[in-house]
């Protein structure tokens, strides 16, 4: 399975995570191409279902990158996201899927390199887990 490249969906918010992305871009670190990025105004707006849908469509991993608890513009957005990720972890566990396939990270604008590192770390972690689902025979 050495050539398995996990399909990963990342949700990131427009404030901290976006600045971090810019910083990391400035540092000319490259994002892994298998991570599909979705930009949201605030991670607090991501519903449980949004986090499940990627798995339904064949993703192998999902993560949310948001602000630090004290820097969320919309007050508590990241806390909400954490609760929903926890709920999805519980659902995945019940489905016999490793709950580590979904994670949530808090970033600050200053730590730009973390933004890219997380993408690589998730890719490596999920790669070791293998695919989340079997290829579908309709």
């Amino acid at each position: 399975m050495s050539e398995f490249v996990p399909k990963i969906m990342a949700f990131y918010c427009s404030n901290c995570a976006t600045s971090a992305a810019k910083v990391s871009h400035g540092m000319s670190k490259t994002m892994p191409s298998n991570v599909h990025m979705i930009h949201v105004p605030c991670t607090g707006r991501i519903e449980t279902l949004h986090l499940l849908k990627p798995f339904e469509e064949g993703a192998d991993g999902v993560y949310v990158a948001g602000c630090q608890h004290d820097s969320c513009q919309y007050i508590g957005g990241i806390a909400k996201a954490e609760k929903r990720v926890l709920q999805v972890k519980k659902i995945l566990e019940q489905l016999g899927i490793d709950p580590g396939r979904i994670e949530v990270f808090s970033l600050s604008a200053a730590l730009g390199y973390r933004f890219v590192d997380i993408a690589w770390e998730m890719t490596e972690k999920i790669r070791r887990m293998g695919p989340a689902s079997m290829s579908v025979n309709p």
Partner: protein
Amino acid sequence: MIVAEAKPISEILTMVKGLKKVLVLGCKGCVTVCNVGGAKEAGILASSIRIAGRKEGIMVDVGEHTLERQCDPEYIEEVKDIVPSYDAVVSIACGVGPQFLSERYPGAKVFPGVNTKFMGGAVAHGIWSERCAGCGTCVIHYFGGMCPIARCSKSLMNGPCGGSSHGKCEISKDVDCIWDMIVRKAMDQGRLNDLLEFRPPKSWTTARDGGPRRMIREELVK
């Protein structure tokens, strides 16, 4: 409202195992209010069933629909055209919903998607608590407006048992002793005398003990 909780997904997956087309049917009544059986939860359950199928390499066709209420034949009628096209319906309404569905659609396989718990309300965000056991003859006016039948672990009618401790019931530190509350309220109001009167045994004829219940309001019957 009627308070319910989601069944473990594994239990639902066992019910729908091997089926190709499943309809998850929500209800906009009580179960929406207690965040267990509304449109949102129907979506999550449907998605979970699809993911579980996908994990095994099976594409399960999961439909989602949410009715105004599932305890009313009028609304149950709404899905008459879609129910027959599914192998099974998972109702996430309270226990009434799947039964109304089973009665209306005798050919359909109907599964309960939630565990119906009690009649109560939200005491805080995300916390619900029981209030009424539906005994059919309300007597809470004798107890300062609180119900010892539903809320005392032993349904005591004449005062707290010997296990009441720090306002909590002997069965758990998470359960309030309702008798402690009844007594304290009576004392605060200077009406302790009301509680000194002997409360005779209750007639359970109007409760479930009297057999399955039915109510007829002549003026409403068409």
